[in-house]
Subunit: 697 residues, 2 copies
């Protein structure tokens, strides 16, 4: 995929320059310095020769066989350049030039021209306003960055040029190196999605890192990421997530940031390893460059100092990891090689007088202990320990289980750190940071272990719902009437309380017969707001006799308390089981498409914001996961001896809402609130609901 | 305070050794190398001379005038050494020797001997099992650390030797330097409290950093910290906070970690700047070494790269800080000096082609803008910008408002970083970390701005409560009877629903007359568990007629449904206003003493853990703060048109519980659950309560 970008036959640099510091000069120099094996042609109408190469006056006059153009001309010229490239048979262009969408309205217009020209002449574009691309294995450095890349296993794409520079420098310092890197710039044509695919296919890329500010087609991105995550770790750092950040993002690249909830749902679905800070972004890549993910949550900690050991243990407690007790065998063996005042539990503290030899003995034993899925080795620089010797021991022992080092200090552990990095043992400055990457590696593994979610199509009456929508459409309405909302949701398997209007006792008796006892009576009067206050609601009516009595009492009570009001009648309603009130809703995110929301009703949603989201449609397992994700989950499981609610019925309700929003792009938002859910065997009842039109046509 | 430790006249090194690598050698060498101005006497019975100094065979033969001993003999000899020191008139001893409490039971016994000896001979002890102490201004380096300290403004105390080494090295690397440092070791005598006082008094210490695993007298620590925090920032990193961490702590130093809630309450009360990670611990000190706290929450961000600017903006959104729009004047001036495609909003993005000059112009304008309380300057290493020149500009401009730099990169910004550090401009590697310290500085300032909390004594019937307790004590009981709980709480101003037992309708009528309508009737029968199910509860009885009817109906219903049961009578109870259910409780923390807890009742506490704590007794403002701190606060403010609850009454309830637990050390735990709180004008009712004995005698 996109091989003409990453493994081109011949490259033309359009706008090549003789002047160092100019983008058109620096990129050409990088291409030559990095020893691109194929021909490189500078194009510049005013030069004969640049950097020892013959310069071509125009694209037209270039030799045949050029498949990649690197464009560094002034922005207004770019659309024309692209059209000439297309005519010459060039397949891809990396547009370094800035002055497009990022500069305002005029630039945005120019970018549209560029896109049009590229489409018309079948030239694919990376950029504009980007730093370039590189592939260290095909010796392609088509960037104007000053630093020379190191060959390695990180494939990186980024919407920020600054982050490109940072990753370039970091990957050199940490000796990981890069396989490919793409500065996406304004993403006029090629987006993170194609990039992700190209990095997935690249055999030299073992870890994918992506920095994003906006995601245009979140749904497609999620689908691709779900596949790629099964092959290699995909570490994404997305900024512009919060309101303030999003504001800055839209003034920066003009991209529309998706809502945080939708992005987090996508992360969950796609097994994306989300970095929460820039530092963690780098730390995660460092971890995966040296280790597979943890196979389970059990971490061992080896330390020569109590303090940092406790700090690491604290960090574990806050994570999904656990510090298991070591096997009895390991403890026994440790007793034989460690002094009696050492701590044989986890963290294993070999104490401040430990030397490299003691580290070696303890390390061997811990690596053999099958209880542990990973090992964190902490070292404080004491007089007795030689950090370099410990680093060597770690390097020798590497390979049996995930191994991470945390040598505390600056200058005094510098050489040891270098040794560790060379052996691809990730090193972090502080214990908490080491624990945090272990944690995320286990969460990733946990995702890998899960069966792929398959949204199962529920049996619903699609046709019925479609008819209702067709009717609304045919009448040119942009809203639903109450009964239409009910009809659509009933078609998708929801049940509303049965309701009939009665004006006389006879009608009420008939209604109750149709509905079945117990029933509820509610006064219907346009002038009465608070029915309960004036005796306008009677609950739990069990039989005809009670019904007649309640009906009469209600009318008498109303006439007595509010003499003048007109009574239209009485609603006879099915008595709803007093279960738990939940909310099941959906919305359509501009980037990530249909999203389902679930939470416990009332204050839990309004005040405590205890809700969870996922992409729709979704599998039963995913729906059950959503139920378990809310903090108030124990309430549904049943507290104080209450029975558990019918989890299957609840999962079905969530799935049905997901299916509805997926089936009808016209629906923009919807919610059943409350949905009453009881224990198994009780009917699930939708008490109130709304649906909004306004989505895609 | 403790001047004989930090500014001794003459020092004896007991157990001085000729052998490099031995503690008794290294500490002597450090004292000499660091050029301690007074006499230093090695004590060693087997040596004539050590490191060019005459060695003394015994403590007894030392010249007069020694006030500080540094002890490095084997652990079993230490108690005797201390007694000899005392006899010689030595006032303080830094015990470096290990082999005490940290090694197990035998060591703990030895430590008790040491303490006894010290008390008896009036020698104050730092340690044992510590790295030593230093005071860079009196040229005292009584540590056996390999690194030479840099003179500076950080005063540091630590329960972990490893952290001491780390801080020593870090303070050199970041060019901050240290004023004093104390390795607390096992804290046999001198604890963090005296240390804190000594650092507070020291004029050279401008910032205090403390690493703690356990706090023995949390209450006293909080009181001292509250005072010291008003003079200089007190940055505390406490580990062993979580359950796993606490386990590791107790196997490490045998110290009992206080509960997290109590510690967090102390932090809140004392204005402590709490570091949440080890990295943040260092970062906070770096910030305060270069800057005063922010005066308000308004941060400005200046950047040459969009990505890192957005990342910083995201971090602000998650903090208590805000990114204000700049003043119109500043924006106007920026327009004159920046290219049109720059972003004039906050973050101010001077774009990737900016040079040092452009930074300078923008920086001057932002520093002049009165809207901003602090400025974060982000730099990505581009071809056009010279990081060192920008670092120089920052150094020149320093002083007008808090200033922090974040230059992204490794080698390429190294020299610039060094320049910044020299000028005491804090530099952080990543934008989020810079924002986080700004945030904590503002929170600290916010605390400084608050009036000092003064726990006001409420008018309570202390005598009455004391009588009840006296009765319980006199009967040798370890528990309260129900009516005693009520009596105590009533004495502290709480009201329980009025309740009377009635066996006949006449008695019930009389009871209702005493209590006043409306009332509730509740069946009293030892055999009936679920009264409501068999008609055993009647609510909202308004008058005599309704009472008689309800009474008879209840008896009939019970006889009909449960023919055989014995009915003892009926409880007539005051009808409680249906307000909000809250929980007000207290507990006595082993380290931090009386703590008050507050939360919304029921599921909010049990499932959502939405509770808050503070130290007792507490001021009204603090009680109101607690109410505002819970997530469910909007429920108390009134949602969906409900009235606000009586905040003053609620605050009084919290204060009263705080006063109760403070007044009676015998009370170990207590709780009113639920306390029913209504809008202003309604009575606050304690429905159920419990009190436990078991606190201090």
């Amino acid at each position: 995929m996109l091989d003409f970008f990453f493994k081109p036959q011949a490259i033309a640099v359009i706008g090549a320059s003789r002047e160092p510091g100019k983008v058109g000069h620096d990129v050409l120099k990088n291409l030559l310095d990095y020893k691109f094996p194929g021909p490189v042609y500078p194009v510049n109408p005013k030069a004969q020769e640049i950097l020892g190469l013959k310069a071509y006056p125009s694209i037209n006059e270039l030799p045949q066989g050029v498949d990649l153009a690197v464009v560094a001309v002034r922005a207004p010229l770019v659309p024309e350049v692209i059209s000439l490239c297309g005519q010459k048979g060039i397949k891809g262009a990396v547009v370094l030039s800035s002055g497009f969408k990022e500069t305002g309205r005029e630039g945005a217009k120019l970018e549209l021209e560029l896109i049009e020209s590229a489409r018309k002449h079948k030239v694919r574009i990376i950029g504009p306003n980007c730093l370039g691309i590189l592939d260290t294995y095909s010796r392609l450095n088509a960037t104007f960055a000053a630093l020379k890349p190191l060959k390695g296993k990180i494939g990186f794409f980024s919407q920020s040029g600054a982050l490109c520079l940072a990753v370039l420098e970091w990957s050199r310092a940490e000796k990981i190196g890069l396989s490919r890197f793409v500065s996406l710039g304004n993403k006029a044509d090629i987006s993170e999605i194609e990039c992700l695919r190209a990095l997935a296919e690249d055999p030299h890329t073992e870890i994918i890192m992506g920095y994003l500010e906006g995601i245009e087609d979140g749904r497609a991105f999620t689908e691709v990421a779900s596949q790629v995550s099964r092959q290699k770790p995909v570490i994404i750092f997305k900024s512009g997530i919060t309101a303030a950040g999003a504001r800055a993002a839209s003034s920066h690249t003009g991209s529309l940031a998706g809502s945080q909830e939708a992005f987090l749902a996508a992360v969950k679905r796609a097994g994306i390893i989300r970095a929460e800070t820039l530092r963690e972004f780098f730390n995660l890549a460092l971890y995966f460059a040296g280790n597979p993910p943890m196979e389970g949550p059990y971490l061992g900690i080896l330390t020569n100092s109590g303090g940092p050991g406790i700090i690491a243990a604290d960090a574990c407690e806050k994570s999904s990891l656990e510090l298991p007790t070591l096997s009895a065998e390991t403890i026994e063996k440790l007793r034989q090689v460690l002094p009696p005042y050492a701590s044989f539990y986890n963290p294993v503290d070999i104490t401040g007088d430990a030397d490299a030899e003691r580290y070696k003995k303890a390390l061997s034993l811990l690596l053999e202990d099958k209880t542990l899925n990973g090992l964190l080795v902490i070292l404080s620089r004491t007089a007795t320990v030689d950090p370099e010797a410990v680093a060597e021991t770690l390097s020798d022992k590497k390979g049996t289980k995930p191994l991470v080092a945390c040598f505390i200090g600056e200058e005094s552990v510098k050489k040891a750190k270098t040794k560790l990095l060379k052996a691809h043992i990730p090193h972090f400055e502080y214990p908490e940071e080491a624990v945090s990457v272990f944690d995320k590696s286990w969460r990733y593994k946990f995702w890998l272990n899960k069966p792929r979610p398959k949204a199962k199509r529920l049996k619903v009456d699609f046709k019925r719902a479609a008819e209702v929508l067709q009717l609304v459409r045919s009448e040119g309405r942009r809203y639903f009437l109450d009964h239409e909302v009910k009809q659509i949701l009933e078609a998708y398997g929801f049940t509303f309380p049965k309701t009939l209007l009665a004006r006389t006792t006879d009608e009420a008796l008939l209604a109750a017969k149709v509905i079945g006892y117990p029933v509820v009576l509610k006064l219907v009067s346009p002038q009465v707001q608070h029915k309960t206050d004036i005796g306008g609601v009677k609950l739990n009516i069990q039989n005809d006799e009670e019904l007649v009595k309640a009906f009469q009492e209600m009318l008498i009570s109303v006439r007595k308390r509010l003499p003048g009001v007109s009574v239209l009648g009485v609603i006879v309603q099915e008595m709803v089981y007093k279960g738990k009130e939940v909310i099941v809703g959906f919305l359509r995110d501009p980037q990530f498409g249909p999203i389902v929301m679930f939470g416990l009703g009332g204050i839990y949603v309004e005040v405590m914001k205890d809700v969870t989201f996922n992409l729709a449609p979704l599998s039963k397992e995913e729906a059950l996961e959503m139920i378990r994700e809310i903090k108030a989950y124990p309430v549904l499981k049943g507290i104080r001896g209450e029975p558990e609610v019918d989890m299957n019925a609840l999962a079905r309700s969530i799935m049905a809402m997901g299916q509805l929003v997926s089936d009808f792009p016209e629906l923009s938002e919807g919610e059943i609130n409350p949905l009453i859910i009881g224990p198994r065997g009780f009917k699930t009842i939708a008490v109130d609901a709304r649906l909004s039109l306004g989505g895609e046509k």
